[in-house]
Symmetry: C3
Subunit: 383 residues, 3 copies
Amino acid sequence: MTQEIHGTVADGFEAVREEFAAVVAAEPPDHESQLCAYVHGRRVVDLWTGDGADACSLYGVHSATKGAALLVVALLVQEGTLELDRRVTYYWPEFAAEGKGGLTLRELLAHRAGVIGTDTGFTTAELADDRVVAERLADQRPYWRPGTAFGYHALVLGALAGEVVRRATGRTLQEVYEERVRSPHRLDVHLGLPAPLDHRFRPVRPMVRTPVQRVAPVSPPDGPHSLAAIAFNRNAARPTDLATLPNEPAVRSRGPASVGGVASARGLAGLYAAAIGEREGRAPLLKPDTVAEFGQFHSVGYDLVVRTHRSYGLGFQATADTWHPFLGAGALGHSGAGGCQAFADPFSGLAYGYTRRRCAYPGGAAPENQRLVAAVHASALGS
Amino acid sequence: MTQEIHGTVADGFEAVREEFAAVVAAEPPDHESQLCAYVHGRRVVDLWTGDGADACSLYGVHSATKGAALLVVALLVQEGTLELDRRVTYYWPEFAAEGKGGLTLRELLAHRAGVIGTDTGFTTAELADDRVVAERLADQRPYWRPGTAFGYHALVLGALAGEVVRRATGRTLQEVYEERVRSPHRLDVHLGLPAPLDHRFRPVRPMVRTPVQRVAPVSPPDGPHSLAAIAFNRNAARPTDLATLPNEPAVRSRGPASVGGVASARGLAGLYAAAIGEREGRAPLLKPDTVAEFGQFHSVGYDLVVRTHRSYGLGFQATADTWHPFLGAGALGHSGAGGCQAFADPFSGLAYGYTRRRCAYPGGAAPENQRLVAAVHASALGS
Amino acid sequence: MTQEIHGTVADGFEAVREEFAAVVAAEPPDHESQLCAYVHGRRVVDLWTGDGADACSLYGVHSATKGAALLVVALLVQEGTLELDRRVTYYWPEFAAEGKGGLTLRELLAHRAGVIGTDTGFTTAELADDRVVAERLADQRPYWRPGTAFGYHALVLGALAGEVVRRATGRTLQEVYEERVRSPHRLDVHLGLPAPLDHRFRPVRPMVRTPVQRVAPVSPPDGPHSLAAIAFNRNAARPTDLATLPNEPAVRSRGPASVGGVASARGLAGLYAAAIGEREGRAPLLKPDTVAEFGQFHSVGYDLVVRTHRSYGLGFQATADTWHPFLGAGALGHSGAGGCQAFADPFSGLAYGYTRRRCAYPGGAAPENQRLVAAVHASALGS
């Protein structure tokens, strides 16, 4: 019995619906996912599937949260509240400890700070609170020479950026986000989910692996104090299960800016659509210059945490280089560990959001995004 | 029926003639190519094949053109007219736009500027005119942070360098090249082919792929606004066919310094021989120090355009690292998209030039160069 | 007939003995090797095998020598005699020649100087004398822009560091090492083996390859003037056989600081144990801050000499990234061409030393280290 596909696509995007249906048909019967896309501010794809799910269902989006957090930083840079080439210590003097005094905000955003975690790890309660995380990181010796190399600050980039925001504005990144981005643009991407909306949250389901996948190693055989372990808090006394982190009420309600966000595909696509262009009658959040600067390649090469090639703009993943080479240069976005993907491609005017409930194998943007993004992009170019 | 091999080799280079013949025998019957090599200023290999071709036939050499252009820059640096560690804006103030003000000439030459093309592409007429290209690039926002990463400036490196030359000397790069390099050294490498010589030009023939090659992707599946597309002008309203660009009379007659040159193998090998040593009684164009500095590795790692590992000196390809690891460190040269290859290896005193008429699969230095360079190098060491 | 395994392991490290025995059983009958490990200053593994060998046998350890040399530098940095961010020329003015004046000591240690050898190579007598090597390198033009890239300074890093030490202290690196490290800590790692101990030296046996290994290329087909050839002195009139270099009495007795050391596994493990913690009642040689700084990643990416990905701290190999990803971030050590391996993992308090007499295929840390380090590490975590 095939699973039902809900929602609509605009004329010219019928192929996307077919591709989405094909993806769903290949998944187990309890599959639950959402796909949404905008082209130049117009919603052209709005699909979902899953028993009990609808377009307003909210999912843990893990690191796609960083996209919302970075949008706040971009806004503040655009209006002059933050300056990229200032040292981090201009805003946050305590960050100077252990040889980090020379690092600029630009370098910090580009995953070059080297404080990917701490020697002893975090409790889950600590990870829920960006301010506590930032305080701990300020004291930490960086794991590489700040600025000279880069690695994915998986669980902490949002806390680092957030502390800079807080010092510069007197308000948390989450507060600025709510007031300036989420609320006025009515976006279902929450950095801190209000209790009245919690019933829309669909708890993350853990990855299910086939027998073959169970044998294949998901990650490199790194130890409990490797850079990867530190970055993913596997060096903590009680290691974090990143996959199910959004299921923790304390995490979900506070919305730590690295991995604590909760969103729908509509929300993710809407966020990027609102960032780069007019949407529902509201002016773009970012000017083209700001979008270009945040999407500009800043860190390119060997990622010391992921241990392979990566490319980042100012915190955003360089989505075209890392995931979808047919996209335009300057595409900027962020995927999440559970399988979601979200980005804007300024050249084609495309904004894309994809969520799924069960964590995808092998972690990171789910493989089906390759097909879905290609279908959306092809229809967008033809539209 | 085997194709005839013309020309001569010096004593001790008989194996090169055999290797050349073996290469030709494996090609289709309409194959047309030239091979020339110097060792310490003495021509030791001078071979060609092809119906209607001779040693004076001229071919489109695509990016091997850059070798001639960079030689001009090296000359001007050597005599103090240009200084590598000056900012580009010292010579060319308009280049400061969009955050490029800090870039040095050294970084520009090392493919670090980040203006690999423009958001909207070029017409073929524009591409033929380095001055127009330079004007457009001055206004362009770089695609990565200038200086911090690098990528192959495939169609524009010559225009960027050329504009610096023009501002510093009042003359175009092509004019300086003609007066100081080509004419006195009687080299058949033309940046702007004079009409009286046009009858020697043999139009480029497009690549012919086997059925298997036709299925295999030639390039990554990048989109019309990817970095690779921008760098190769595939984002233009009418995308450039780089392979047959030299067949355009406007391109051939102006000789844009990135890809518009027309040459014979004798010319290419002679150019590099003249650069590094005495040749036909004339003093070397460059001092050993200049050769060493231009061949010194400046950009090493992931090339954002080519999307793989590359190494460059000051604009020149680090031929030993990228193509022929048995060559000496400091070998400097440049291949062309149609399959030609040209370089100097200062350690062994070898200068090499290879041209072919039909574009080679899969693009870039043709595979047969591996065998030919190895044979020439082995004979040179034994000689 | 299985080979006898000698020595002891502490309770909880029985699995290491089994693994060592399994490794030995897979080797030819003349196999000779030693394995030693400390955890938090306590010797927990002390094994050896081989006819005529014992725990005090001494082997040529090739580049593992660099670990001892770098420990001297770290000591002098710790006490303020050397400053990492000073230019090398502050200590050694002649080093400024050929564009090296801007290089800092930090960059020099991180394999960024670019003087990996000389255009004409060294005699073996020269290689035995760090001061002669340093003098030659001071005059050499670097093979890449100093500081901007990196490559393994295989045969010369110790001479470069040693000259800085000599200029700053008036004493050779070898003298400082003997007085401050080797003698007080009674370590069998000798930079210059005294004649009375020479009877304990077991000459290196050359690599023996299987028929399959004989066909597979051991190294890339690089030429006599490639960067790799220069770095390994294969460009010399009489190329160095690195493998058997320690068999030369002049090398062994002078102990050049890059590759001339002679050691036992007890010595190597003891050296790293003494560096990071208390051992046999003596205070640690280095403070945790110094260990962390020298183990901090400084050069990450494409190594121009080795032609693949590498990671280095301040001269030390980043052992976790390059060899054993299950180790802690900040693990620092150095393997040797003949197959030995040695490192400290500050997080787990582990110090490891392994020697073998016959050069291992294919060169560098011998493959069996993968199994042995994993076994030691697992037992250490469980202990």
